[in-house]
């Protein structure tokens, strides 16, 4: 086998394996590169997906190689690799740690780092709570007209206020996410240097990606994951529907400000919201239970970022339900308490969105898209 004629060398950085160890990739201390994981992985049908190769890059410290590898985002943690690995090197968890590593390193200013360290996370939490509480208490238009006799969420915080804060937060999320995505693209492009693609391939694979994102059939096909599949799909669709519900409501209020009377649009939104809420509760509670019982392969270990994301979703879902119940039952204290918590939780979720596990919502489809487009060139 002749040496490649390119002058490109993989640059090795020492901190890579150590970083990944901290993120849960302890299996890199065991892997002897047999290739079983790649061979058992259902995603290896996509030629750019190579579990073993990624682990090798991590072990050697090829940072650009690790950051430019779409493999971890195609992984649904079916656990087959863990089960067949002869060294018990838990490749599934190495993929998990690679995802976190990529989230951290794609994030602008490497802000993601804050969310993967207990101390900095605690600090970030305190800061966000302070800002949030301050905002609730001090921001004009909030809490000032709290109606204690009736459950009126708009007396807790005015709709225009929520609208405004929402828009700011949305802008923040979009901008930061775009910056992060750009980083991801840059690393991945570098890894597939010198390969040409054409526009029609991009469009064809885009359809594939969107379909996969919406229906997640690749997870369904994986062994023993039928309930997981349903639960994960629930969370996803739960989020989409509640987001759509809230979004529709905002847009309605934006177009028709000042009305607090329901119309058929708002009813539709509410129904969407309720369905979404139920799906979210089902999915998140399913995962909480399994992670507490540790009775499935992905649930054996739960790291701080996992709990952060999962508990926020669960809290949002439950408090959303409680708030809506409170409104219908006209129980003001229940309503305001749960609504306050709900708003805080949403706030945490959105602020941390580009840096937390939530980011997989965008990274997964993108990576899959890149992986499919560049697959033909391998």
């Amino acid at each position: 086998m002749a040496l490649m004629p390119t002058e490109k060398f993989y640059v090795l950085t020492e901190d890579v394996p150590r970083e990944l160890l901290k993120l849960g990739g302890d299996g890199i201390r065991k892997c002897y590169q047999c290739g079983t994981c790649t061979a058992i992985c259902p995603n290896s049908e996509i030629q750019t997906v190579r579990v073993r190769r990624l682990i090798k890059k991590i072990q050697l410290g090829a940072k650009d190689g690790v950051l430019g590898d779409p493999t971890p985002w195609t992984c649904y943690f079916c656990g087959d690799c863990n089960a067949t690995c002869p060294k018990d090197a838990t490749p599934g968890y190495i993929m998990d740690s690679a995802r976190k590593y990529q989230i951290i390193n794609y994030s602008i200013l490497k802000l993601g780092k804050l969310f993967y360290n207990k101390l900095s996370m605690a600090l970030a939490f305190i800061v966000m709570t302070a800002i949030g509480l301050l905002g609730i208490m001090v921001w004009p238009g909030s809490l000032s007209e709290l109606d204690l006799g009736r459950a009126d969420i708009y007396s807790f915080m005015g709709s225009e206020l929520i609208h405004e804060i929402g828009l700011w937060l949305l802008a923040y999320v979009i901008l930061v996410t775009l910056a992060n995505i750009f980083n991801m693209y840059r690393y991945m492009r570098k890894a597939y240097q010198g390969k040409n693609t054409n526009a029609s391939l991009w469009i064809k694979e885009l359809f594939y990606t969107i379909k996969e994102a919406l229906f997640q059939s690749r997870l369904r096909c994986q062994k023993g994951t039928s309930y997981r599949y349903l639960s994960h799909l629930s969370i996803f669709w739960g989020f989409i529907l509640t987001f759509a519900a809230t979004g529709t409501h905002f847009i309605w209020l934006m177009l028709y400000p000042g009305t607090s009377e329901p119309s058929y649009i708002t009813y539709a939104a509410r129904i969407l919201g309720i369905i979404g809420g139920i799906l979210l509760i089902y999915g998140s509670v399913y995962y909480v239970i399994h992670r507490l019982k540790k009775d499935d392969v992905y649930a054996e270990r739960t790291y701080l970022p996992d709990w952060w994301f999962l508990s926020l979703i669960t809290v949002i879902a439950i408090t959303g339900f409680l708030t809506t119940s409170g409104v219908y039952l006209n129980a003001p204290i229940l309503t305001y308490a749960s609504y306050g918590v709900h708003l805080m939780a949403v706030f945490y979720l959105i602020v941390s969105a580009p840096f937390s596990k939530f980011a997989h919502l965008i990274y997964r489809p993108l990576a899959l898209w890149f992986a499919k487009v560049w697959e033909g060139e391998i």
């Binding site: 060398f9 993989y10 890199i28 065991k30 590169q33 072990q59 050697l60």
Partner: protein, 656 residues
């Protein structure tokens, strides 16, 4: 050997056909064979029996010898492998010379292979019996050849294999002469640092120290260091050895004060430290060496005499002459050891940069008893990036590399990497390798190395080492990543293999021991006789036959000792007389037989008139017949298979 007068003897042959249960009788018509045999000339009696090898069968023969005065026996039964000795013993008991029988395998040769054609099988068996009768008619009585056995052993080489063999033989009760070419015992193991084998960690010096102490305390072992064997005569059971003791120039008055060393003007690379430091021409090999005494290296000494002047106990004598010692031993154990592969200048940057060293040199640096007391400094600082390159000089990776695998390098390299990592936890250690060839329980060394984040870089194409000032770079194509990697190395460690010792050809021709294609000494049989040579009485152990670990060398030393013990425990050896003999009068002195004999049993002798003839040592000859076939003068015949015995056998095929 006695030879009976031919022609006047009345040949009386008894033929016995065995049924072998149904193995023969189930196919061949045994009665027909018996009747046929009776018709053959000189056959006095022909009988059949169901199992000739059984006691009644043997008794039948014995009684008939007595009753019919039989003096030749043909047994048509199974092959000679199992029962020839049985029948030889039986006829012996009846007073007949055991070499006057022939066992013809009508079972393997006829009934078993022609089970589907009984008629022709019977005919074939008749032919076989006729041939056997023709042969046996011309057999001569022979006596086993006796050789004396001296109950002393010579062990050549004082490394761990030789020390172990010497101890086992001495404990078994034999006097042992242990000859070592260096001024000290211990071989490579003493220079090794710490070794790690199957979970046991021990320093090489400690192993050697333990063995040397036992040798010192054993009165049956005589040690001759700084000595070499220069002449070997004789053969199995009776070797006459001449040992040349090279002068040490320092006698036992030496008190290790070291004053001589201080004033010595000559500095040369210290071979006991693999050249990483220098020693003087007068030096102590290492602390704990045996004998623990200074020695002068005559190849570098200028004989200026400064050391003599300062020696407080007058231990130095520059006029010491070499001495000759004559030994007479029954068995020889060759434990010559090995040399390390020396990379060529420029091979992976070796010799072009002081940052490219061999694994052995690294082990000396990291050893507590080494020249840097275990501290490794590269360019004055602790090393950061250390790259080990495996298979240097092995697996044909470079043009003058050997083809064979050196077996122990992977385990040694991994062990040292772990040692390095424990001393310098921040170091980045790379192992640039082909295969990871630890085996058995040492697999855990590999797992431990991965656990310690040692980086494994696999190559098919050998890496390139480039030197830029005092920076070194290793450029390698990682075959499992399919990417090229450039590693800036502070230190490059070449993991080199073992080679036979440089004097191997000279030494083995002295002893008439062969070598294999890889240059290492050749065993009698690679699988089942791994510690015996093709020369009777000479045994092989340790790395002299091929790369192996210290533990494996120790085991081999004991195994060679047991083979030697089997020989030495006898009062005399007895060899089967079915050997070849040269008829001097026919020999033309061409020497073909000498070169062709696989057992080195033939040597050329000179007559007074200058002509030569070859002579076969009856104790070494295995009766293979190769020399007989090769001799252009038909001067060699084999007892039991002489022309006059074989040719009638051949002619008998045609019914004559």
């Amino acid at each position: 050997m006695s030879e009976e007068v031919r022609g006047s003897e009345d040949i009386r042959i008894g033929v016995y056909v065995c049924h072998c249960g149904l193995n023969i009788a189930g196919v061949i018509n045994v009665k027909e064979l018996v009747e046929y045999a009776k018709t053959l000339p000189n056959v006095v009696v022909a009988k059949e029996y169901i199992f000739m090898c059984s006691s009644p069968g043997q008794n039948l023969i014995k009684e008939d010898i007595e009753q019919y005065k039989l003096n030749r026996i043909v047994i048509a039964a199974c092959g000679p492998e199992m029962h020839e000795p049985t029948f030889r013993a039986a006829v012996s008991e009846a007073g007949l010379n055991p070499f006057l029988i022939d066992l013809i395998a009508i079972r393997e040769g006829s009934s078993w292979v022609h089970y589907d054609d009984p008629k022709r099988a019977t005919e074939k068996a008749k032919d076989m019996i006729r041939m056997s009768v023709a042969r046996v008619r011309n057999l001569e009585p022979l006596e086993k050849i006796k050789g004396e056995v001296k109950h002393e052993a010579l062990v050549v080489g004082g490394g761990v294999a030789g020390l172990t063999a010497a101890l086992d033989l001495a404990n078994r009760g034999f006097d042992v002469h242990l000859v070592e070419k260096r001024p000290t015992l211990g071989g490579h193991t003493a220079m090794m640092g710490v070794l790690n084998w199957e979970g046991r960690r021990l320093s090489g010096r400690e192993i050697v120290r333990t063995l040397i102490k036992m040798v010192k305390d054993n009165p049956k072992i005589k040690v001759y260091t700084n000595s070499e064997v220069v002449k070997v005569d004789g053969s199995i059971g009776n070797f006459k050895i001449t040992v040349m003791r090279k002068p040490r120039y320092v006698n036992e008055r030496c008190n290790l004060c070291g004053k001589c060393e201080e004033v010595c003007p000559v500095s040369v690379p210290d071979e006991y430290e693999y050249g990483i430091k220098k020693r003087k021409a007068i030096y102590l090999p290492y602390s704990g060496a045996y004998p623990e005494r200074y020695v002068i290296d005559p190849n570098s000494c200028t004989f200026c005499g400064k050391c003599v002047e300062v020696c407080p106990v007058n231990a130095i004598d520059l006029n010491e002459k070499e001495g000759e010692i004559s030994l007479n031993v029954g068995a020889i154990v060759m434990t010559l050891g090995h040399d390390e592969y020396e990379p060529a200048i420029g091979e992976y940057g070796y010799g072009l940069s002081k940052n490219v060293i061999t694994l052995s040199q690294l082990k000396r640096y990291l050893s507590d008893d080494g020249p840097t007391k275990g501290e490794l400094l590269v360019n004055g600082t602790k090393p950061k990036n250390i790259v080990f390159i495996s298979c240097v000089g092995s697996l044909g990776t470079t043009p003058h590399a050997n083809q064979y695998c050196s077996r122990t390098c992977c385990m040694a390299a991994l062990s040292e990497m772990l040692h390095l990592k424990s001393k310098y936890p921040d170091a980045n250690i790379f192992y640039v390798h082909k295969d990871i060839r630890v085996y058995g329980k040492d697999e855990k060394l590999y797992w431990e190395a991965i656990d310690n984040l040692i980086k494994f870089v696999r190559f098919d194409e050998p890496p390139k080492v480039s030197i830029d000032g005092n920076k070194t770079f290793v450029d390698v194509y990682e075959s499992t990543l399919q990417e090229r990697i450039l590693i800036p190395a502070d230190l490059v460690v070449l993991v080199t293999g073992m080679t036979p010792i440089k004097e191997v050809d000279a030494v083995r021709s002295l002893f008439k021991v062969g070598c294999g294609g890889d240059g290492f000494l050749k065993e009698l049989h690679l699988k089942l006789n791994p510690v015996e040579s093709l020369t009777g009485g000479i045994f092989l152990a340790g790395t002299a036959t091929g790369p192996k670990s210290v533990a494996e060398s120790i085991i081999a030393g004991s195994a060679a000792a047991v083979k030697a013990s089997i020989l030495l425990a006898k009062d005399h050896i007895e060899v089967e007389p079915l050997i070849a003999e040269v008829d001097e009068s026919k020999c033309s002195g061409c020497g073909i037989c000498v070169s062709i004999c696989p057992f080195n049993a033939i040597s050329m002798q000179k007559r007074e008139d200058g002509t030569r003839y070859s002579k076969i040592d009856p104790l070494l000859c295995e009766g293979c017949g190769t020399c007989i076939a090769a001799c252009p003068s038909a001067a060699i015949q084999q007892y039991g298979y002489k022309d006059k015995q074989i040719i009638p056998q051949i002619l008998a095929v045609f019914g004559r």
